[in-house]
């Protein structure tokens, strides 16, 4: 496999581009440039491949390339923003499929390889195949084609059994070279089924983590097949994605507070999809709050007694200044009875140096929540409790409230599940557009500031 320098060079350049592209994508400021750089890498690598001397079936290759990319491009360009995750899933599955197919061709060819190569080919095929069918299921679930989480009897045992079987067949394939067709076929079949069976019982809410996991899998599969084909660009791209994807999966699982093993082996509810999540307070991290606000146009901050208790006013104002530097419009909405004395919030905001022209009272600002991207509720509770509007039995019924619930996203900073002065539960915290940042308001604001600064 001595290839001309320009082919090797193109692949090398591709690998470089991928690395820098991925690096770009890991920060909001350069993310968009990152994907473009990676795109150039892909073009370079593909172009170089066409230049391999003696490449056969160029027509077929071109057709396949055209067909695959056209279909994917069009579907990807049309799909609604909210349907993106399943598109990622299906494209990822295709990558896994491709990796498996490459291994399949190698087996069909029957070239003899050394042990390591065969082993990696088989491993890549296994992982690729699982990722393929698994991703398809993930897509089907998110797309709503498959509505129920199908849980087979003794699911976990079945999973383990199937996995063992597949691995055994794979081992056999490796050992009994040259490959025996029945064995290989059985191996592929089992691997594909494994992907199906493992993914079927997983609920829709957990899917993003699973997709990320399959994404890392596909990366590994690609890396392994790269070894088989002797192509370092594939190895690097695949392994970088494999490593990055693994870490990403962990980060996502952590952000959702669901250990990965839990997702794969102990599905949340036998029959439930994501319904169980409704009616829960959804937690969010400071970094996300920072990013959400940093890339918003309009933010309204609703301070309450908790801000006073935490003495968070200085931090909150610093955060505001950072947001304004980034071009975000920030306003403070003061409820008439926020805090524990008339003008409590005014005292604090004045102390922090918030200019009066950023402070609005209920009548002035209530109409603006509907246009706000984020309502950041800091240690307030009763004053944003929608029960006051509708629930006649509530002790706070009839009190005018700030319409924080009308904002696109509501973030509530509080220490825990404590209720406010009136002691009533707040339905806002459970609503779909609301997420909770748990912690004392001062350190939380500090964390948000830190992340805002990191975003430049």
């Amino acid at each position: 496999m001595t290839l001309p320098a320009f082919v090797q060079g193109a692949w090398f350049a591709g690998a470089l581009f991928f690395i820098f592209g991925l690096k770009g994508m890991s920060s909001p400021a350069s993310a968009r440039r990152g994907i473009i750089v990676a795109g150039y890498g892909m073009l370079t690598a593909i172009a170089g491949t066409f230049l391999i001397p003696g490449l056969q079936n160029i027509g077929l290759i071109a057709i396949a390339l055209g067909l695959g990319s056209a279909v994917a491009w069009l579907s990807g360009a049309r799909v609604k923003m909210t349907d993106m995750p399943q598109m990622v899933a299906i494209y990822n599955g295709m990558g896994g499929g491709a990796a498996a197919a490459i291994a399949a061709v190698e087996f069909v060819k029957g070239d003899t390889h050394d042990l390591a190569t065969t082993a990696l080919a088989v491993l890549g095929a296994l992982i690729g195949a699982v990722s393929f069918t698994g991703s398809c299921i993930a897509w089907a679930k998110l797309q709503g084609v498959l509505r129920k989480a199908v849980r087979l009897p003794a699911q976990n045992a079945l999973n383990v059994l199937l996995a063992l079987g597949t691995v055994a067949l794979g081992l056999a394939t490796v050992m009994l070279a040259p490959a025996r067709p029945e064995l290989v076929c059985a191996f592929f079949a089992l691997a594909l089924i494994l992907g199906l069976v493992v993914t079927l019982p997983i609920g829709g809410a957990d899917m993003p983590v699973v997709i990320s996991l399959f994404n890392a899998f596909t990366g590994l599969a690609v890396g392994f097949e790269g070894y088989v084909l002797g192509n370092p660009a594939l190895i690097i791209a695949g392994i970088v994605v494999g490593a990055a994807g693994t870490l990403l999966t962990q980060l996502m699982a952590k952000a959702m507070n669901r250990p990965i093993s839990n997702i794969l082996f102990v599905p949340m509810a036998a029959a439930g999809s994501g319904a169980a999540v409704e009616g829960e307070q959804k937690e969010i991290g400071a970094m996300d709050v920072a990013a959400l606000m940093r890339y918003a146009d309009r933010v309204i901050i609703v301070p309450g007694y908790g801000m006073a208790v935490a003495h968070a006013q200085h931090k909150v104002w610093e955060m505001t200044e950072l947001l304004e530097e980034a071009g975000v419009e920030v306003k403070f909405a003061i409820h008439p009875v926020a805090g524990r004395m008339p003008g409590h919030m005014n005292v604090l905001l004045a102390e922090a140096g918030v200019p009066y022209d950023k402070i609005f009272d209920l009548d002035e600002i209530n109409g603006e929540f509907a246009q706000a991207d984020v309502a950041l509720v800091i240690g307030a509770n009763d004053v944003v409790n929608p029960a006051a509007r509708s629930d006649k039995s509530s002790p706070i019924y009839g009190m005018p409230i700030l319409n924080a619930d009308m904002a696109r996203n509501v973030i509530v900073v509080k220490r825990g599940k404590g209720s406010g002065y009136s002691g009533v539960e707040n339905a806002l915290f459970y609503s779909d557009n609301c997420q909770m940042l748990y912690g004392d308001a001062q350190p939380m604001a500090g964390e948000i500031i830190q992340h805002l600064k990191a975003m430049g």
Binding site: R340, I396, Y397
Partner: protein
Amino acid sequence: MPLTIAVARERAPGEKRVALSPESARRFKDLGAELRIEAGAGLSSHFVDADYADVASAHSLEETYAGADVILRVSPPSPEEIAAMPVGSVLIGLLRPFELPARLDALNGRRITAFALELLPRISRAQSMDVLSSQGACAGYQSGLIAAARCAKFFPMLTTASGTVRPARVLVIGAGVAGLQAIATCRRLGAAVEAYDVRAAAREQIESLGAKFVDTGVQADGAGGYARDLSAVEKLQQAERLARAVAAADVVITTAAVPGKAAPVIVTEEMVAQMRHGALIVDLAAETGGNCALTQPGEHVDVGGVHIHGPLHLASRMPTHASDLYARNLYNFLSPWVREGQLAFDGADEILAGALLCRDGSTVHPLVKHVLGEA
């Protein structure tokens, strides 16, 4: 004929507020009510007659009240004023219900439906009508200013070429609406503030304003967010721990109150004797007797170099904003029951029922009846 609301000039000495502000007048108009105001009624609050556009002007008390359906007031009416009220009219204001049985009799004599805003239940919905809060905020703010202006020292710390001045030490006793506002005001001026209250929740509230809580180990939460009376033992313990804080203070501001009762005496003569020459006590509870044993309501006494102020009518020291807030409270109290220019009270409403003092010729509020019966 539409509802007629009448507002006379306040005649009580020291009272500078007015029950109708130009803004609340505008709002009542929008509800379809007729308004009548006595000429010059707003002047002491710096609202000149011309500010009340579209409000009928009257030139005497009698002319003002004649034929009125609703009478808005700040302070309780004198016998002459009651005599000028139409029989069966509605009276809303700060009526000092626990004070003068004769006044209630006079009101009942004219079958006046009287709402005493002191009795407003402190539920969330009533906050916008809560005159005790709005006027308490004014009083607390003023008490902080009086303390600062009368103190022989700087409140803030200052490092100057002539030496460093240490911040004054302020002790606020009672951290209700007025007390918290006093804390905030003194803190704004840079004083080192300590504060004390019997309610358990007060600690966090005090600390939320950057003041230090004086822990005496006594807690006395009562009903409805108010404090209850203390037992003798509790009083002793409280006194002992407080005495130390009082002796160390340059300024003591007291705001402790128990509704329907005389103010508790917290700063005793012995404590005053321990204070330094030039120290200052501002006693906001002067109207109900004072939290300091030596307070003379409305006076300013010097006891061995310690100055004790018992200011009255604190809110009247800032009449423009005090009236503004008060008038808005009244508007918020009355407006839900004005439909198409007519008054229609819902007798079952918790707030109305809570504030209702007299109706159909008799005093109906249970606590008032109880307290007056006792006395």
